[in-house]
Symmetry: C2
Subunit: 337 residues, 2 copies
Amino acid sequence: MSGGFRVAIVGATGAVGQEIMKILLERKFPIADLKLLASARSEGKKLKFGDEELTVSEAKPSSFSGVEIAFFAGGAVSKELVPEAVARGAVAIDNSSTFRLEPEVPLVVPEVNPEDLEKHRGIISNPNCSTIIFVVALKPLHDAARVKRAVVTTMQAVSGAGKEAIDELLVQTRQVLAGESAVPRVFPHQIAFNLIPHIDVFFENGYSREEMKLLLETRKILHDEEIRITATTVRVPVLRSHSESVNIETERKLTSEEARVILKEAPGIVVQDDVDNCQYPMPLFTSDRDEVYVGRIRDDISHEKALNFWIVADQLRKGAATNAVQIAEALSKRNLL
Amino acid sequence: MSGGFRVAIVGATGAVGQEIMKILLERKFPIADLKLLASARSEGKKLKFGDEELTVSEAKPSSFSGVEIAFFAGGAVSKELVPEAVARGAVAIDNSSTFRLEPEVPLVVPEVNPEDLEKHRGIISNPNCSTIIFVVALKPLHDAARVKRAVVTTMQAVSGAGKEAIDELLVQTRQVLAGESAVPRVFPHQIAFNLIPHIDVFFENGYSREEMKLLLETRKILHDEEIRITATTVRVPVLRSHSESVNIETERKLTSEEARVILKEAPGIVVQDDVDNCQYPMPLFTSDRDEVYVGRIRDDISHEKALNFWIVADQLRKGAATNAVQIAEALSKRNLL
């Protein structure tokens, strides 16, 4: 570490934190100094960063003195510590939901609305994983034909609930195969060989917070309060990529051929759509990739101006860590740090 | 076995055939004689039926002499042998797709269109598993408010592809946990810890046959050529229950409260919809049940006259074997055998 930014990662020991470290290295993000922060429980833990071994410290307000970029991997800690980091002059890139819908906080997916970074006041929010994946594919189609309504069903990997959730799927799967009973701890029910149509808490209207995020965050990112979205979010026994079955109605007719061309040219997207050769996005084969994979692009036979498609992307990377690092890169490029 | 019908099961050694045997016993279907038929490979195999041990014979045209009801568990054999069974005086209840869309063949879900049995000419088709589950929930809502359009995403258990597919999921899961590579045989890709948006072959329009079945079979069962349905069907690493995320647009506004009341009163349905207590249908807990479970019933926030709900049912039971046995019961009750 030499010429570059003074960086901190809060939640460095978790699934997203670990991925941020990996991606900072991969993308050669210029770092002068890296502080790994976590809860008191992890204090003193050693973590590899390239050739160096770094020691985790407890995240406290004073941890942010001298820090220029503070990545917050997510969770309840953001509410208290993001303002502390900003007060000490850091720019906070926050993966929690805490500030996402605050009017003065930009909510950014660099392929979609990088210009929103210009008006930041210290905090930039990273959208929810399923929103990021969705808007990367939605934006170019929205620009081309204006999306009026979307009906979305997500199938979300356990990684979205953190490292313990990944362990829970693996442990429960072994238990089931051994004929033992699987005890749920992280999820409300057994996830091994099961589907749970419940992510985050439920609201009065019957939607879960995860489902409402897809609507509210997409509206904010696209600066379009007219777009209508209904979502059903389901936890599935997959390790780390999220999948989304999407139906969109557009103002002007967009054919599947046209959509395919638009998506192929759009940033951050890989079109994988050759059903005759069994080519379509699948979570297993998009893990550890930064792109959003789109396939099964079809004219909707039930509506003259609608399309179906299927999106898959690595929840920990583009759905969280990669997007956060891309925000830091965009801030740097725009001299906003 | 004494007073009752002379019954044959073709494909008795497969996943659906085994389930038909179980359900005939459970429901005390009156059987005078039971012939277990399968391919030459299974000839001589012994299978338990209650206290008796029966020997499997090779299914041949002559097997159906004296048979009154022939259950066909599915597959290519139906095309050749269903007509042979009918020619010998049997009524064939066929779980394959071969005759489903033939105009003179009733396609029946007993809760939905039992009256169609009246005009049978020897063959009654059992609909596709995902269609059965779907129409049981759709019919009462369609009667109440006329469903104009449905956007459906299915998450289908491996049991839909037979016994070998169930084994494949279990074997691959063990392989992955052991750090070995998982070799796909039944499915086009690894299914363990993965999702495959591909069931059956693809058509020119980009839809799979499984997706088109949901439209074409539902139209036939409901006798409504106007209803519009678009589906995305996905194979998931679940053992035996299918799940469906459904969005319907209705002619007149149907509130979620009204839908809940209608579904509670409808035959063959269990409404499991108490999100505050984490109660919603899940494949793990609907296996070995005959009912279709419906939950997550919500007014669609993206459309004034639309509703979301989530359906789960055991693919081998209501999705196949139970429906077939219910058809036999309905035929018997209506003196149509």
